[in-house]
């Protein structure tokens, strides 16, 4: 039973970094607008479909033959990020911006609407184009790297490395650049920030652009790693990424990373060991229950998360 432990941990890390990058998108938007972008999971899903379509189309054109897989992967990633980033901005413009002053539940309802709309639009488009909406992604990387105690597939390694790169880049962007400072200012106080000649609309647009393109990039990573995608993958993964963001302390970038990795590890461990430990009574099918229970427990006992600061209610 313990012999599979290293492999379980490696799988959990891969999953966890995937959660972490999606969680970054939730955290960024929440940090600035105090609003849960429910549609973020669907943006991730659209990213996975765009990536798969890019690979499928270039494969059918014969462009993938002889192309370095890393170049092909980079191309897919860039196209997917650009398109999902644009999609995020578009969604913000149409469905969220007109509601900025509305009671808090109204934009949430609009976001749920967007997420359902995107699911069916993707299904619709794929059904017309390919007569099928469960797609198999062409695998770019097949090898694996042996670490001695466990082997990690190349695609998994790419997930981990890219996730870390994206996180570092984002942290630097928010910490060091002018736009990053503007973002933090808007997060603190929108009206004061606008008095300081910060264009709040533009900053929020940029937030959605970056958050959504990160979601799209994770979609590409996901489709490479798991091989099969469908229009409904975004919802549960989005929910778990949100759990990760809450676990780490929503609005906190480092927290999102730690929360994601932690959740991935916990899920992988529970999936592998819950069955044997309970004598087969509760198997891997309960791992989602496990993830949601963590969400509920964190919200109950430590709503500020692991790294967040407790917020005092403003009266």
């Amino acid at each position: 039973m313990l012999s599979i432990l290293p492999q379980v941990i490696v799988d959990g890390l891969t999953l966890g970094f995937m959660y972490a990058v999606v969680a970054l998108g939730y955290t960024m938007v929440y940090g600035i607008l105090e609003f849960i972008n429910f549609a973020h999971g669907e943006i991730f899903m659209v990213g996975a479909f765009i990536g798969t379509e890019v690979l499928l189309i270039s494969d059918s054109l014969g462009a993938l033959q002889g192309m370095n897989p890393y170049v092909a992967f980079f191309m897919t990633l860039v196209i997917s990020m650009a398109l999902t980033g644009g999609l995020g901005v578009l969604i913000e413009r149409i469905a969220y911006r007109p509601l900025r002053g509305a009671p808090r539940l109204v934009p949430l309802i609009s976001a749920i609407g967007v997420s359902f709309l995107l699911q069916d639009l993707v299904r619709f488009t794929e059904a017309i184009a390919r007569n099928e909406f469960y797609l198999n992604t062409p695998a770019l990387f097949s090898g694996s790297v042996s670490l001695g105690f466990a082997s990690i597939p190349t695609k998994g390694l790419i997930v981990i490395i890219l996730a870390i790169v994206m996180m570092i880049a984002l942290t630097l962007f928010i910490g060091k650049t002018k736009w990053g400072i503007a973002m933090r200012a808007v997060a603190q106080d929108q009206s004061t920030a606008s008095l300081m000649t910060i264009n709040v609309d533009k900053v929020i647009m940029l937030t959605f652009l970056i958050g959504s393109s990160l979601g799209g990039a994770t979609g590409v990573l996901f489709s490479q790693n798991y091989g099969t995608i469908d229009p409904y993958i975004g919802f549960i993964l989005g929910l778990k990424a949100f759990t990760a963001a809450v676990l780490g302390g929503i609005g906190n970038l480092r927290g999102a990373m730690v929360g994601g990795v932690l959740l991935g590890l916990l899920e992988s461990l529970s999936g592998a060991y819950m069955g044997p430990l309970t004598g087969g009574a509760f198997g891997a099918e309960y791992k989602d229950v496990f993830a949601f229970s963590i969400l509920i427990l964190v919200l109950l006992f430590k709503p500020e998360g692991l790294f967040g600061e407790a917020v005092k209610e403003k009266v």
Partner: protein, 423 residues
């Protein structure tokens, strides 16, 4: 502008409503299987609501349409009664959710879990399923037990509501939405896997055959009977809704919805108030769950997905959360759209396809467009009608009437002593 135009019409003339009802009723009677005529009859309820006559007349008209005209004209048609009872089931559920979302302002995305609790309560004990974990061959129960199980379903769901509510209600706003969503999913996964170690729910295979209700030896197996059962449950829920709305508890709900902090400062116990809303909404869903299980004679976890919760939420928000006529309209509209209009449309497309005019892949069947339609509806309602189609009315106190009342003449308390000096 449109608003002003609407205001200047003081309701629809009674004669028009009557002509409408008679017209569509006879159309339904003489033209068999006319969907439009049937929808026209259902729509007449809205006309009656807006009719320009006294409340009494409207009540009698509405009762006549629901209790006499629909059963008389469409009663022998299984399909229409099926649609009508389906509409009724969703209206009842939406009215239950209206208490949670509309009155108390708690966005509950796991509402269908309570519906599932009621349905499973009846299903497990009315079939031989319960023998799996209760010793002695006591089950299945007969259909006579349907009636007491309406109460059992209510209680089970209310207990579920309190159990879920106790921990969950400490969070609020969008967090509450996410947490209830997670809870709904947890319940569904558990029902889906509770066939081992002890077989309680029979897992993904579901439970069948659930007995249909019996009363004095009559087996109520057709949708015709369910139409009446649902109708009476709705009447009960509507009365409960109205009574709650104007009760002390109902005003506390609205206060909590508008401003939690202020309500708390005025001495309203947040936890009790919210728990009461959760439990009340849940108990209605439990009753409807029992009816649903008896009507379908088969249940499995696929009937209790997140889509169902979202669907009911769409009904409440589209119609106007907190507004009883609005919620009824929203539920009726969404259900008719789903079970009838989309089906008709896909049948139409199928016939086109069979005659070779168009070629559609199977995945584009309009009856599968639920998510797209729900999505568009939610966005449009949020953007353009955040209060719904029939917004909730606030009860206004007529200040002039209060001033003019005979009790307001003399000044009371310390003011009465000042009266002489003032004039």
């Amino acid at each position: 502008m449109a608003n002003i135009g609407w205001k200047s019409i003081k309701g629809i003339p009674l004669i028009f409503t009557l002509i409408w009802i008679v017209g569509f009723a006879s159309a339904l009677h003489f033209l068999d299987k006319s969907v439009i005529a049937f929808l026209g009859i259902l729509f007449s309820i809205i006309l009656i609501y807006y009719t320009n006559s006294s409340k009494m007349v409207r009540m009698i008209l509405g009762a006549a349409v629901l209790l006499l005209i629909i059963p008389l004209v469409a009663g022998d048609n299984r399909y229409y009664m099926e649609v009508a009872s389906q509409v009724g089931i969703y209206v009842a559920m939406a009215l239950g959710l209206n208490i949670v979302v509309g009155f108390a302002g708690l966005l509950d995305l796991g509402y269908v879990a309570f519906f599932a609790a009621g349905a499973y309560a009846y299903a497990i004990f009315s079939t031989s399923q319960a023998n799996q974990f209760i010793p002695g061959e006591l089950f299945p129960l007969t259909g006579d037990w349907f009636w007491p199980f309406l109460i059992v379903g209510l209680i089970v769901a209310a207990i579920f509501g309190i159990l879920l509510g106790l921990p969950v209600l400490r969070v609020k706003g969008d967090y509450l939405a996410i947490v209830t969503l997670g809870f709904g999913e947890i319940i569904r996964i558990i029902f889906n896997n509770l066939d081992k170690p002890i077989n309680i729910t029979n897992g993904p295979q579901g439970i069948t055959p659930i007995p249909q209700p019996e009363l004095f030896g009559i087996k109520m197996s057709t949708p015709f009977y369910f139409y009446f059962i649902v109708l009476f449950v709705i009447i009960f829920i509507v009365i409960a809704n109205i009574r709650f709305e104007h009760s002390r508890l109902g005003r506390a709900w609205v206060a909590v919805r508008e401003d939690e902090l202020a309500a708390q400062s005025m001495g309203i116990s947040l936890l009790n108030t919210k728990l009461a809303a959760f439990a009340t909404g849940a108990s209605f869903a439990g009753v409807v769950g029992v009816i649903f299980a008896a009507k379908q004679t088969f249940i499995d976890p696929t009937s209790f997905t997140l889509m169902e919760s979202i669907g009911i939420l769409v009904m409440v928000i589209l119609g106007g959360s907190g507004s009883i006529p609005g919620v009824i309209l929203g539920a009726a509209f969404v259900t008719v759209l789903q079970v009838q209009l989309l089906k008709e449309f896909s049948n139409f497309l199928h016939s086109l396809q069979q005659s070779g005019i168009i070629n559609l892949p199977n995945q584009l069947d309009p009856s599968k467009f639920q998510r797209l339609i729900f999505g568009v509806m939610l966005i449009l309602v949020a953007l353009y009608r955040p209060n719904g189609l029939i917004p909730a009315k606030r009860k206004k106190n007529d200040l002039d009437a209060i001033r003019g009342s005979k009790y307001s003449g003399g000044k009371l308390g310390i003011l009465s002593k000042l009266q002489g000096k003032e004039s």
